[in-house]
């Protein structure tokens, strides 16, 4: 053991030695106390939030948290939602952070079954509707936002063709919309999985396969990830226009149209894309205090803050999701260009947990092969 330790120390010394040479350490102006992994002790003024790559928050809002509580937030992003959660499961008991944000209702059971979180009832939870509190009796996780996965359409295409855009799952299988839809691989992409779950919810566990057979006959195209589907295949997005994409229907989010407006220069008066509001699956994202968190007090304060008004009102334009707190005002851009789903589809987390693998498997052999 001692030789291994010596070897390890030698290696680190070598590594850190060259670091000092490069003068890199000083120019690396990260959050305080993050210079090396071993400095975050108890009573630390830093609270670490582990999340997926899509996590965003305005600088001002994070500063506000520091002003209110004295804690500085350090954010650690680790891949897409699935990968981020799986890394937490691997490091269970010795987590890299204090709070994990970004487990959704499709993966919630995996997190809970692995005992990832310490129960904590966040302050202000009474402002959050009961229907999104999926762990209300134990409070291991706190709902933070909701987002709808829906088919988006290219307004210009349908106007030019004088064709009404589709509204429902059933529409998508109609001959008028042949070869128009692109979706993501349900095995590798969370919108892809959400859309599959939406069809399961709409057609039942017995009927969804028949529905997908129809979609396949109607020329649905499957690509691996949202980036390809949206930026390369979908004719309504900015990227797709450049790529001369030819699919006017894509599985994306109800909040995608406002993004097309916000990130266009000059900003158009209306969004170039619309949402088929009858094709939505509701995602609920949760946060929880990690079991073994070094800064439990800070983590609890952060959970309170995540459902607080300030953070909730910041989310729509940073992460393009809807707040869960009833008192949070949604920005005009969001209400004006976004869409509300007609009765979004939901599936209970337990049912998802039990059947996810099998649904995805049969979907793959049906649609991908």
């Amino acid at each position: 053991m001692s030789t291994t330790q010596k070897a390890a120390v030698a290696a680190v010394a070598a590594a850190l030695g060259v670091t000092a040479l490069a003068g890199c350490g000083s120019s690396d102006d990260a959050a305080p106390g993050s210079g090396s992994g071993s400095t975050k002790g108890s009573g630390s003024k830093t609270v670490t939030l582990v999340s997926h790559d899509s996590f965003n928050a305005s600088k001002d809002v994070l500063k506000e948290f520091t002003r209110e509580t004295g804690y500085t937030v350090k954010v650690l992003k680790s891949g897409d939602a699935g990968a981020a959660l799986n890394q937490e499961i691997l490091t269970k008991g010795s987590p890299r952070g204090d709070v994990f944000f970004g487990v959704d209702n499709t993966l919630l059971s995996r997190a809970l079954d692995n005992g990832l979180f310490t129960p904590y009832e966040a302050k202000g939870l009474d402002r959050v509707p009961a229907d999104v509190q999926l762990d209300a009796d134990k409070h291991r996780v706190t709902p933070v936002d909701t987002g709808d996965i829906c088919v988006n359409y290219d307004k210009k295409y349908f106007a030019d063709k004088k064709l009404a855009p589709p509204k429902t799952f059933a529409d998508l299988a109609k001959p008028a919309y042949r070869n128009l839809l692109v979706t993501e691989n349900a095995a590798t992409s969370s919108p892809g999985l959400g859309f599959l779950l939406g069809t399961v919810s709409a057609y039942g566990e017995d009927g969804y396969q028949d529905y997908w057979k129809k979609l396949k006959d109607n020329g649905v195209k499957v690509v691996d990830g949202w980036e390809q589907a949206y930026n390369e295949e979908f004719s309504g997005s900015a990227g797709g226009k450049k790529a001369k994409a030819d699919r006017p229907l894509v599985v994306s989010y109800a909040s995608s149209p406002p993004v097309e407006v916000l990130y266009a220069d000059p900003q158009p008066k209306t969004a170039p894309t619309g949402v088929a509001t009858g094709t939505c699956f509701r995602q609920i994202e949760f946060a929880g205090l990690l079991d073994g968190a070094k800064n439990e007090a800070g983590g609890k304060a952060l959970l309170d803050f995540l459902i607080g008004k300030k953070f909730q009102e910041d989310m729509p334009l940073t992460m393009f999701v809807s707040p869960v707190a009833k008192d949070a005002k949604v920005p005009e851009l969001f209400t004006k260009f976004g869409a509300t789903a007609d009765k979004p589809a939901t599936v209970a987390p337990d049912t998802i947990a039990k059947n996810r693998e099998q649904w995805v498997q049969s979907w793959s052999s049906l649609v991908v092969k």
């Binding site: 291994t4 070897a7 120390v9 030698a10 290696a11 680190v12 070598a14 590594a15 850190l16 670091t19 490069a22 890199c24 120019s27 690396d28 990260a30 090396s36 992994g37 071993s38 899509s54 965003n56 305005s58 600088k59 350090k74 954010v75 650690l76 992003k77 680790s78 699935g82 799986n86 890394q87 691997l90 490091t91 010795s94 890299r96 995996r110 691989n185 095995a187 590798t188 690509v223 691996d224 949202w226 949206y230 930026n231 390369e232 997005s237 900015a238 450049k242 001369k244 994409a245 030819d246 994306s252 097309e260 916000l262 990130y263 266009a264 220069d265 940073t318 992460m319 793959s364 092969k369």
Partner: protein, 534 residues
């Protein structure tokens, strides 16, 4: 030897072993039965079969297209040759997110092929194969062309004087001398395409999956560690076998060949045949390498002039995608790459030095071991880091040093491969003479070895630097949001909708491409006569 061994033990062998062990051990007992179980599954067999045949096809196609290029770069003199040689190397160090996007633009709908002949190749295996040629062209040009340039053409001429036909002379004289280099290049291309990840994921669509893609899917998406562990070991075995054969061909290549200064072997092409060959090679480079790169530039300008570039300087334009302006990713990338390069130079340099001084089976095994990180999936290493480097003094999981450490793992093989031939060429008698004259080992190194290897060291540093700049797989797991690297920033921008984000992704990709091109161009200026195998 202690430092490289320790480095690899702590930052490679231990993490990888731990994550594989997590998958294959249940209640402390190894479950080797899982091999049969996993390998019997039809979808896994399909993955194995596809991995193998696409790698074979990619290698064959790359050789077919790049060997004439190797010849042209070795034997012809033409204006812009140095620049062009640097440019064809740029793809090798570009991250696949960037390349995938460029290729989609070229081969997908509305791409050049589509507009000219209505041909679309996206989500076909052709897109994968062509992208593999794009990536690996430089491997062949550098490995084979580097040697070709140093073969004395007079040997072939002598054979012709003695009555051999042009082809016979080439087959009898040049080909045998070149064969080991061709084999080594083919094996490297095979290794890179066998473990292909991003290209297959982006261009192949869900119908295609290589072992590496499947390991990623099983680990990161499904957390099916047993399956992932079995696949990792299968890939490990395959890569080990490839490297063993590669090491053997390299040793054969090191047999004495009469080498000359490459500057003397290249001349201006003469005759219609040579001009046609040159034109053909330039055309293939134009179509396969310059065109995809040009598409990136074109999209980054996107009719809006430099608007996307200007937007990169502001953090507000992205309202939270980054805590800092995306342009700062350039600084981050450069800083990480400097640290990674230094680590790679220390570790790789010491390893190369140790390998020169000692011989024997054990040392040769170590030589191959240093190459292994090139063939082990980033997700395996990344997840291994998570479960092993979690206790002080080595709780590095949230430390920035992990990024350069992971990048150095990929850089070390390049340093070793570049340094080794040069170090081996240093005459040991010089060192002994210095020692006899009373010089300490350090002094002897400084006075004898260092001046001889200085340029090789610079070339090695340049390669490690460029590879670190483009490294994506491992970095994406550990890069922190307050200091993303260029490839990570590109991926993040591509992950969001909106015109500005897309345009900025293209602009950043273009910048990354230029930084890589400039560092490689500088390398061309300091290349040594025998600068190794890359």
């Amino acid at each position: 030897m202690a430092v490289p061994v320790a480095f690899f033990a702590v930052f490679f062998a231990y993490p990888v072993a731990a994550i594989v062990g997590r998958g294959l051990k249940a209640d402390g007992v190894w479950q080797f039965g899982r091999f049969g179980e996993v390998l019997a599954r039809p979808e896994i067999r399909e993955v194995l079969w596809f991995t193998l045949w696409q790698a074979l096809a990619s290698t064959a196609l790359t050789l077919l297209i790049a060997l004439p290029g190797a010849y042209v770069f070795a034997r012809f003199d033409f204006p812009g040759k140095q620049v062009l040689r640097a440019v064809v190397t740029v793809p090798f160090v570009l991250p696949t997110v960037v390349v995938g996007t460029a290729f989609l633009a070229l081969l997908g709908r509305g791409g050049l092929l589509d507009e000219l002949w209505g041909v679309r190749l996206d989500t076909t295996v052709w897109a994968i194969l062509l992208a593999h040629v794009f990536f690996n062209y430089a491997v062949v040009v550098r490995t084979v062309g580097g040697l070709w340039a140093q073969l004395d053409p007079r040997q072939e001429e002598a054979a012709r004087v003695l009555g051999a036909g042009r082809f016979a002379a080439w087959r009898r004289v040049t080909l045998p001398a070149l064969a080991p280099a061709v084999a080594a290049a083919a094996l490297m291309v095979f290794l890179f395409t066998f473990t292909s990840f991003g290209v297959v994921q982006i261009l192949g669509g869900p119908g295609f999956s290589t072992l590496e893609v499947e390991i990623y899917r099983q680990t990161a998406q499904l957390l099916a560690l047993p399956t992932a562990a079995v696949l990792t070991l299968v890939q490990f075995a395959a890569v080990g076998a490839i490297l063993a054969v590669h090491a053997w061909t390299v040793r054969r290549r090191e047999r004495a060949l009469k080498l000359v200064d490459p500057a003397q072997t290249a001349r201006r092409p003469s005759g219609a045949g040579q001009w046609t060959l040159l034109a053909g090679v330039l055309l293939s480079v134009l179509l396969l390498i310059l065109l995809p790169l040009a598409v990136l530039v074109e999209r980054s300008l996107g009719g809006a002039g430099f608007a996307y570039y200007r937007a990169l300087t502001s953090a507000d334009a992205n309202s939270g995608t980054f805590l800092v302006a995306p342009i700062e990713a350039i600084g981050n990338s450069l800083r990480y790459a400097v640290v990674a390069t230094l680590i790679a130079l220390v570790v790789g340099g010491l390893a190369a030095a140790a390998l020169t001084r000692r011989a024997g089976r054990l040392v040769r095994g170590f030589d191959a071991l240093l190459m292994l990180p090139l063939g082990v999936s980033a997700v395996t290493v990344g997840f291994g880091f998570l479960i092993t480097l979690d206790k002080p003094p080595l709780d590095l999981r949230t430390s920035w040093i992990l990024v350069p450490l992971a990048q150095a793992l990929v850089g070390v093989p390049f340093v070793v491969r570049t340094m080794l031939p040069v170090l081996r060429a240093v005459d040991a008698r010089l060192r002994e003479a210095a020692a006899v004259l009373g010089a300490s080992p350090l002094r002897a190194w400084r006075e004898v070895d260092f001046p001889l290897v200085r340029r090789a060291l610079l070339v090695a540093a340049g390669f490690a630097f460029a590879v670190s700049l483009g490294e994506f797989g491992a970095t994406v797991f550990i890069a922190r949001p307050d200091n993303p690297t260029l490839p990570v920033a590109v991926a993040r921008l591509l992950g969001r909708s909106g015109e500005l984000n897309y345009g900025q992704a293209m602009a950043l990709s273009t910048i990354l491409m230029l930084v890589c091109a400039v560092s490689l161009l500088l390398l061309e200026r300091i290349r040594t006569d025998r600068s190794g195998e890359f």
